[in-house]
Chain length 593, copies 2
């Protein structure tokens, strides 16, 4: 049927961006969270300080942290008393598969296949407290037997096929930042396990500026994506707390949520179509603005945690970089007033890119993390504090803070600010400035380093999250806190537990609640197991209070036991049957979900 | 673990609404679209008129319709020359299954099991042109052998179980408004087929006003849902053109889109969780604001077209009834200018609930549908026309119209109007008033009746839709129109084809395009097959031009052959394998997708 096709308007415009900057080898730590150049440490004066120059807090001493933590935990903390980690703890023996390894070496360059014990270890865990405890003080019983780094989709396909031919199995790996034991290898796996590391597939393949779409490889981290898009004036806007290290493929595999989802949406809304390599062949579909053609199997990979296929790339919606990006913060006399504020903000329909409400303990934590001040700044700060406490009558032990991030055009942001601050006043809120808001968001990335530091100082900590209907949220917070205190007391653990919550995401029907839990473990036998036990009790409490199993962390192996409380038996049977039908040999052997 | 659970804030508030008004028996036509009291007819003066009192156009003569259609189609149309339909054409013999029928009679009241031929016929088709031709001039080769009307979920479960025990199969049925041959029974089905009509499950079970959610039974039509929610100040906001008759379960099964999706979202966004009865058992999951627990099998039913399970209810997001609802319309000198307008509206981020851009032919069609005017109104209208054509210099043969529907608070609507009309001016748009806009939207429901009227007057017509990237949309429109003209000419069909398009939905990445195609078929052998052939060619052209297989109509049996052009072989294999795994006996025997 030869006939002229008319030209397109608005004009198509496809950009192929430059590759992202390359990280220097070893830039990312193997034994702890994050970049090797950054992290909490104890300085010679016995104060906590933050190393490096990467974050606002970097290079600064944080003198109030330990004293404050002592007060909260009800224990004496000696900065020089460390529970020295023994990383790397014993790495299990390899299950060799010489035929598989020879075939891989022939297919990939030798530098892209490794059986180095430390790399194998790193590919066998994420960042749960159990993971980190195991590599420092315990042991992982099973880790991958080799790590491979394919560089394109064809190589991914071939690795999977070689695994099939040689009776091995494959576990895909992105940034390795999961907090669900998703990368833990099943202990009873007798086959050779290849960790398929996708980090070399880190390109934005193209940007379609007119239609605001881009095709991005699965192994690109948030940093790499924003660098490549940003050069051409675009953003994906997906910013989970792990965004520096976690990857698009990982976000898809865990059904991730970003802190700016109010403006940009969660990952399932950003992803238009998924490309994946599976034991059955490639899943692919041309993306469409919207389509009604029944279930798209490639979308079943969203949240599939490596069980069904290996995401190689995805086409996503992108956004122009916002002209304006402004922070804000509001103090409220109580969590309840703050909660009514965020409820009304959501109901107003005018919702900033990010709205986060900290409880009192988390607000205090934020204060304790403030770097040492100059004398003048200290006076100013003392006066401000006086005003808040004396003049406004806020109580230091009950006040809370809400941080705000506005993105958009100047007029959009201005309108949002007007609306949001008007609502804040109605609930007794007091504006606390852009600086405090910005600090709150920037701390998100630095704070990720604190868990490893605390673990070395006899404090074991972890976060967990849920989503819940508006009407059940406050009761859930109270119930979980009460349960943690009970569980802590019941076990006669030292001092007091730290349990704190923030509202991190707003939805029409409810919120995401993000908890931090920690306790002092000096003198406690098997602290990691005790922690896991209490966390399990907290999860039970969450479910009993109407919360969901997970808002964005996922299930992995950590929460598997709770799945029957979420899905009916038939729903679980469908999931099992799908896995059996499309991967009968369990070639994708991560054992999650 | 006995401890006090704290009370909830904001307070939970659950409402159980009254049931919807009951339609009088026979209110809906069996042989044609819609309510029996409404429809196009020829009055004694030989003019087209619309019967009844249900719509704005009801009770009015439409004197310009036939003369205009004559001009467009290039044929002489005699209002009294009817191709008399022979409804009901021969209804196929029943495949009896006495054991099944006895068991059903024992389980349901006799009034809720029927083998009436006309009801069986009605449950064996939707509203494609093929369907309507078959029941009036052709024949359906296979229809359900009985129809059952369960009244609750337990009865749905039992019907499915009895079918299994007695070797029958089940096809769920909602409003019967599909346009994809989805209710056509597979001709080679030897088992007894029970059509499971869900229309008696039409209740809103509860409304949660605080969390803005509701649980609604699958058989409730759009009318029934809005009635039940509206009494309590809420709306679902889902308004497909079929909303008077189509049901929530049908919307889920076809992955429907409503005309106000810019404000309320499409069905997959509205639905928080699906409850379904399946051969494997019940699918259910407590709804959560957002959850990361891997794929939810109940959501695989979205777009599943009756193949995987029977949706019995869903929890959905609801919205307060908007304080303000205003219409608007803008005229543009050309489709291209109108298209650039809708593109800029989407890019502005300020998008009214509905924005629809008609091409010139569809604009003319809207004019031709105007009822007869009083003398004064006729003069006013002539003057307006003069202004548009003479003063503004618009060409009658190229100008187009965009209709707008604004919903929200007064300030929201006012801000949207300001923004939208400012953009319209930039593209040479001329405001044409709220009345014309409102007329456009109200016509949507009345226009659904025209297809049956035209068929009786030797004009066969059908709509089809796609979604496509912004940059490909205009070329796609041109290509499809050209292809239709070619196909029409190639077959030597009478006169000229009618092929017209409108943009009905805007997305960040593209649009939904909705085509109408018609031709005069007097003297044409097998016109329904000829039409289907040309529609198939148009679909090929759509796919070649970058369009999707369907935006919201679905696949059914009509578009099955094109699935390999959308999904990779592995993706299709996954769909087949899932069906085989969860319904190995093909108990759900609709044969779609």
């Amino acid at each position: 049927m030869a006939h002229a096709h008319a030209g397109a308007h608005p004009e198509a415009s496809r950009i192929v961006p430059e590759p992202p900057s390359q990280l220097p080898p070893g830039a990312e730590s193997l034994d702890v969270w994050g970049f090797r150049d950054s992290g909490f440490e104890v300085n010679a004066a016995g104060q906590v300080a933050f190393r490096g120059s990467r974050y606002a807090i970097s290079g600064k001493a944080i003198p109030n942290l330990l004293p404050w933590a002592e007060g909260v935990l009800g224990v004496k903390l000696d900065a020089f008393d460390r529970n020295t980690p023994h990383y790397p703890t014993a790495v299990p023996e390899r299950v060799a598969n010489p035929g598989f390894e020879a075939a891989l070496a022939a297919r990939l360059s030798p530098a892209r296949v490794s059986s180095d014990p430390q790399l194998r270890l790193r590919h066998g865990h994420g960042h749960t407290q159990e993971d980190m405890w195991a590599i420092k003080h315990g042991a992982l019983r099973r880790v991958p037997d080799l790590v491979v780094w394919p560089e394109d989709e064809a190589e991914v396909r071939d690795v999977l096929e070689l695994a099939r031919v040689h009776g091995a199995c494959v576990v895909p790996c992105g940034g390795g930042t999961n907090v669900t034991d998703a990368l833990r290898c099943p202990e009873d796996e007798r086959r050779s396990i290849a960790s398929l590391d996708l980090r070399r597939l880190n390109r934005v393949l193209w940007i379609d500026a007119t239609n605001r779409t881009a095709q991005i490889q699965a192994g690109a981290t948030g940093l790499e994506i924003e660098e490549q898009l940003g050069r051409h004036g675009f953003t994906l806007g997906h910013e989970p707390d792990s965004a520096e290290h976690s990857t698009l493929g990982g976000w898809i595999a865990t059904n991730a949520s970003g802190m700016k989802k109010n403006r940009y949406g969660n990952i399932e809304q950003l992803v238009l179509s998924v490309r994946a390599v599976t034991p059955e062949g490639d899943l692919e579909r041309p993306p469409a603005p919207r389509e009604s053609v029944g279930a798209d199997p490639a979308r079943w990979l969203i949240g599939s945690e490596g069980q069904l296929g290996i995401v190689t790339s995805a086409s996503v919606e992108i956004f122009p970089l916002p002209a304006v990006r402004r922070f804000g913060s509001v103090l409220f006399p109580s969590f309840e007033q703050g909660f009514r504020f965020v409820f009304d903000v959501q109901r107003s329909g005018v919702v900033p890119a990010s709205v986060r409400l900290m409880d009192n303990l988390q607000f205090q934590f934020g204060q304790a993390l403030k770097p040492a001040k100059t004398r003048l700044a200290a006076i100013k700060s003392a006066l401000e504090k006086l005003y808040v406490l004396r003049v406004r009558g806020f109580e230091a032990e009950s006040m809370v803070a809400c941080t705000l991030l506005f993105e958009g055009s100047e007029s959009e942001v201005a309108a949002q600010e007007r609306s949001v601050y008007r609502i804040a006043s109605r609930h007794g809120g007091m504006q606390a400035g852009a600086e405090n808001g910005e600090r709150g968001y920037q701390l998100t990335f630095a704070i990720a380093y604190i868990r490893d530091f605390l673990l070395d100082h006899w404090v074991i900590a972890e976060s967990f999250e849920t989503s819940v209907a508006w009407s059940d949220a406050q009761a859930l917070c109270a119930n979980v806190k009460q349960r943690i205190w009970q569980e802590h007391a019941k076990r006669g653990l030292p001092g007091r537990p730290f349990i704190s919550v923030r509202v991190t995401q707003l939805y029409e029907t409810g919120v995401c609640l993000y908890f931090y839990f920690a306790f002092h473990y000096k003198g406690v036998a098997a602290p990691s197991e005790v922690f896991a036990d209490i966390e399990r009790a907290a999860r039970d409490e969450i479910l009993r209070s109407g919360g969901s199993l997970s808002h964005h962390h996922g299930v992995g192996k950590l929460r598997q036991e709770f799945l029957p409380r979420v899905f009916s038996p038939a729903a679980l049977a469908w999931r099992r049957k799908l896995k059996q039908a499309v991967d009968p040999e369990n070639l994708l052997g991560a054992g999650n979900g």
